[in-house]
């Protein structure tokens, strides 16, 4: 009886073992096989070197530099982790807590190396290898470097690990540790810049030592990109803006090539590479991350007047000889609309030269909001310029229909009055405004701006223009008026006359909540325009400062013989 019990105990013991073996080896066999593989098969990613970004003079403004990460294998250091980290911190002169934090954050598999110290230079790394020997593993890694971070931040953007938006990127063949451009040229031309990552598939033992080689894929370097931007002009523009919030754009009037596109305040994209001070940038109420040239819209103020002039002349209700009397204000029913001065009798030329509001109130009413709205749209003020940068915003051109649809209130004459001096609902990005103004420089063509000059050795052909169908005779008096603003003693931008660059331009003081924005738009030389400049300064008070900044900027360029 007792022996039968014992026999059953033995039998059930053996059966339990057989069932367990069946469960682990047959039912879950593939799972454990995979886990076993994860132990010993490792992919050593070989990052591709990202293409370099050059300016038009082939000065590098973004490139990859080799740096080294120090990695450890968790299984190897389990008992001496704390003391090792202390020694590493001492050797590399960094915070031991940071090492611990990196270790905890990046640890995946106990046999996979974990980067604990990132971005060491070559000499230091070699010395560390001598001192610590096999305990540490050197992980070479290309790192993006922006020698002129602040100046080019908004044009270039930066790179980050693809892991943050992997869900979307996976289908484009990105791996989590790969770098992807974000914002600016880095994002827009990422497909060219990124190259192809490769990797070694190796076998390692429990100590992380390589014991076998299974295969490899060579990384391929990304393509170099050459921009239309001139590093010298960009730097001068950045300096000219000083600490003001604002934008300076300089472009080739004929082709639409952007020579400078600066937005301030700016940030250092290198911070994103290092992962430092980022929260501060997001929290900053001046919003340094926004490219004010293309991602923010502002009221145009008087810089809209040339377009109102076209609308008026085209309507044939007004000619360039028509005059209106400016008494310093304009009465519409009970409302009073101001002008800056008492200009008395003014024709188109005078009105553009002096930026007389009363003149434009009058022709605005005569022309009608519908026609002005149509012309504003023709000049592209409500559609993106299609510049080769991501996240471009577009402006808003109001019309009676738009207002009743969106604000549920009818368009009144007061709206037309405001509209005709670029106030009210009308807003655009500085770049849209610059491109619209450039129509006067090209003699009736709306261009698409672009930044790409060539990829590796292939020249880019991005220039595109649309003929707006404006009669040459209509353009001429307006251009003269714009020239008048600079050459006339009492012109609004007379200061620029000192430069002898034959500038024609238009100032603008756009009222907004808080202090007014200052604008200056211009092109030069007047006879055969080569450059178009746009200076915008947020809440600076008046156009006076925009003119002054433009003056300093162009004077600098002239002194350096860049123009």
């Amino acid at each position: 009886m007792g022996q039968i019990i014992i026999r059953r105990v033995y039998l059930s013991g053996f059966l339990l073992l057989v069932f367990s073996l069946f469960y682990y080896q047959i039912v879950k066999g593939d799972y454990y096989l995979q886990r076993g593989r994860n132990n010993y098969v490792r992919v050593i990613p070989l990052r591709s070197i990202r293409g370099t970004i050059f300016d038009r003079n082939e000065v590098p403004i973004a490139y990859d530099k080799a740096t080294f990460n120090i990695a450890v294998v968790p299984y190897e250091i389990q008992n001496k982790k704390d003391s090792l980290f202390m020694k590493l911190a001492e050797f590399f002169d960094c915070d031991v807590n940071l090492i611990h934090k990196n270790y905890e954050k990046r640890k995946t598999n106990i046999f996979s190396p974990v980067d604990v110290i990132i971005d060491c230079d070559k000499m230091q790394t070699l010395k560390a290898k001598d001192k610590f020997g096999e305990v540490i593993i050197i992980n070479p890694q290309p790192r993006r470097l922006y020698p002129q971070g602040y100046e080019f931040a908004h044009v270039l953007g930066y790179v980050k690990k693809a892991v943050s938006s992997l869900e979307i990127l996976k289908k484009y063949g990105y791996t989590p540790s790969e770098r992807i451009g974000f914002g600016g040229i880095e994002q827009y031309y990422d497909a060219y810049l990124k190259g192809d990552s490769g990797g070694d598939l190796i076998e390692v033992d429990a100590k992380g030592k390589i014991v076998g080689f299974l295969g490899e894929r060579k990384p391929e370097k990304g393509k170099d990109i050459y921009l239309t931007i001139d590093n010298r002009i960009q730097t001068r523009a950045y300096e000219a803006l000083g600490n003001n919030r604002g934008v300076i754009i300089l472009l080739d009037s004929k082709k639409g090539e952007i020579l400078a596109l600066v937005s301030r305040p700016s940030f250092d994209p290198n911070d994103f590479i290092k992962g430092e001070n980022i929260k501060k940038l997001f929290d900053d109420e001046n919003k340094p991350l926004i490219n004010r040239g293309i991602q923010a819209t502002y009221p145009l103020g008087s810089t809209f007047k040339p377009i109102v002039s076209i609308a008026a002349l085209d309507s044939k209700k007004v000619t360039d000889h028509t005059t209106f009397n400016c008494l310093g204000q304009f009465n519409l029913g009970m409302s009073v609309f101001k002008c800056a001065h008492v200009h008395n009798q003014e024709n188109l030329y005078d009105a553009l030269t002096h930026s007389c509001n009363v003149y434009f109130y009058n022709i605005g009413i005569i022309t009608g909001s519908q026609a002005i709205s149509q012309w504003a749209k023709k000049f592209g003020l409500d559609s993106p310029t299609k510049i080769d940068l991501p996240y471009e915003k577009n402006g808003l051109v109001p019309s009676p229909l738009w207002k009743s649809k969106n604000l549920k209130t009818p368009w009144v004459k007061g709206d037309t009055v405001n509209f005709s001096i670029g106030q009210g609902f009308l807003t655009t990005t500085p770049l849209e405004n610059a491109m619209a103004f450039n129509v006067f420089a090209t003699g009736g063509y709306l261009l698409s701006p672009y930044l790409l000059k060539k990829i590796d050795t292939t020249n880019a052909v991005l220039s595109a223009k649309v003929y707006l169908g404006i009669n040459k005779e209509l353009l001429e008096p307006i251009k003269q008026g714009l020239r008048g603003a600079v050459v006339s003693e009492d012109g609004t931008a007379h200061q620029l006359n000192n430069l002898n660059l034959k500038i024609a331009g238009k100032t603008g003081t756009a009222q907004t909540t808080g202090k007014s924005h200052g604008w200056f738009l211009g092109f030069f030389p007047y006879d055969d325009p080569k450059y178009t400049v746009c200076t915008f300064m947020e809440n600076c008070g008046s156009s006076f400062y925009a003119v002054k900044t433009t003056y300093n900027f162009l004077k600098d360029l002239q002194d350096e013989k860049i123009l």
């Binding site: 033995y10 339990l16 057989v18 066999g29 132990n39 033992d205």
Partner: protein, 363 residues
């Protein structure tokens, strides 16, 4: 088949010897594989030591099988006392390895008296159980229980929880199959199980850790849970036919510690797969079954008790060791008999088989 079944039943000795020879070859093969790393043999002396131990064991087996088993009835008390003295010697003068005082050095050899306890316990229990009837409560239950507990306690203090547990289970198994009242053992088993939660207080830190890790290996994947996780990976990844001799990645790339001793089964499972493991279990089962079948025919109660003890000894080692590598039992340091590297256990196992062979000759 080169032997017929009736022949096996009447004379199981030949089959058992064939099984043992086969297990010896398997042991050498697997120890060799466990020492093999990245295409070269590390510590070849371990392989040769094992070979030496196997040869010594066979000599001892032959000697023991020639000694009349009834001798053990008379000498069991003396052997028990000598063993207790040895254990105490170890306790006070023994060699400390890996935090435990288990080894006694004699010349160049070291051996573990705790392994000898398994023999003396089987002998003394066989004596008491065979000479008692169900009426003898003191002589048949209390006295042997106290002797086993004393022995187990000293071993537990070394500390060697595994061997101590083996002794207690031996007591239960041999007791249940004897004529003593079953309810005593059932009561003991139940009360023992109820006391387990309170036993935690007396366990060493590493023993507690092992128990916690047994319940959930992932609490400490780098520390105490490491072995069991890697062991499961090794066994599971063997799948149906295994990765082949010298091709187990867990083994060859050194992901498993202690794989030539307590975790040797993982190599069988990884390199020879489910089929290899089942084949090994079948051999073990064949040995146990042969012993059990023969036991039924024995008329001498002492012989019967002895062979149940031997059988239980084999079963406990197989079940607890493989169970622990599979993670269905906590990790206690028990070797896999006939396969694990280690001289003392091999000799002890062979002595016990020798005793059985002698019983077969004399009955």
């Amino acid at each position: 088949m080169f032997f017929n079944l009736s022949n096996i039943k009447s004379n199981p000795a030949k089959v058992i010897i064939i099984c043992l020879l086969f297990l010896n070859i398997l042991s050498l093969t697997i120890v060799y594989s466990s020492l093999h790393q990245r295409g070269e043999l590390k510590n070849p002396d371990i392989f040769y030591k094992q070979l030496t131990w196997i040869m010594i064991s066979w000599v001892i087996l032959i000697m023991v099988s020639l000694m009349n088993y009834r001798l053990y009835f008379d000498f069991s008390s003396i052997l028990y006392i000598v063993n207790i003295c040895l254990l105490l010697t170890v306790y006070f003068f023994g060699k400390t390895t890996m935090g435990a005082q288990r080894w006694l050095a004699i010349g160049a050899f070291t051996f573990q008296p705790s392994e000898l306890s398994k023999i003396t316990t089987i002998f003394i229990l066989a004596r008491f159980f065979s000479s008692s009837d169900r009426k003898y409560f003191i002589k048949g239950f209390i006295l042997p229980l106290s002797l086993v507990l004393l022995n187990a306690f000293i071993i537990f203090k070394q500390p060697d929880l595994g061997t101590a547990v083996v002794l207690v289970i031996l007591f239960l198994m041999m007791g249940i199959s004897s004529k003593i009242r079953k309810r005593c053992f059932v009561f003991l088993l139940v009360s023992g199980l109820l006391l387990i939660p309170f036993a935690g207080h007396y366990l060493k830190d590493y023993q507690k850790k092992r128990l916690i890790v047994f319940l959930n290996p992932n609490v400490d994947p780098l520390g105490a849970g490491y072995t069991i996780i890697q062991s499961k990976i090794a066994i599971g990844s063997g799948k149906l036919v295994g990765k082949g001799f010298l091709s187990g990645t867990q083994n060859q790339f050194n992901f498993l510690p202690e794989r030539h001793t307590d975790f040797i089964f993982t190599i069988v499972a990884e390199e020879w797969g489910f089929l290899g493991s089942i084949f090994l279990l079948l051999i073990y089962w064949l040995i146990i079954k042969l012993i059990l079948d023969r036991t039924k025919e024995m008329r001498d109660p002492f012989a019967r008790c002895l062979s149940v003890g031997i059988c239980s000894y084999l079963f406990i080692h197989i079940f607890v060791n493989i169970g622990m590598t599979l993670g269905i039992l906590p990790v206690v340091g028990i070797p896999l008999i006939f396969l694990s590297y280690g001289g003392t256990n091999l000799v002890v196992s062979f002595i016990l088989v020798g005793v059985f062979l002698n019983i077969c000759r004399n009955t």
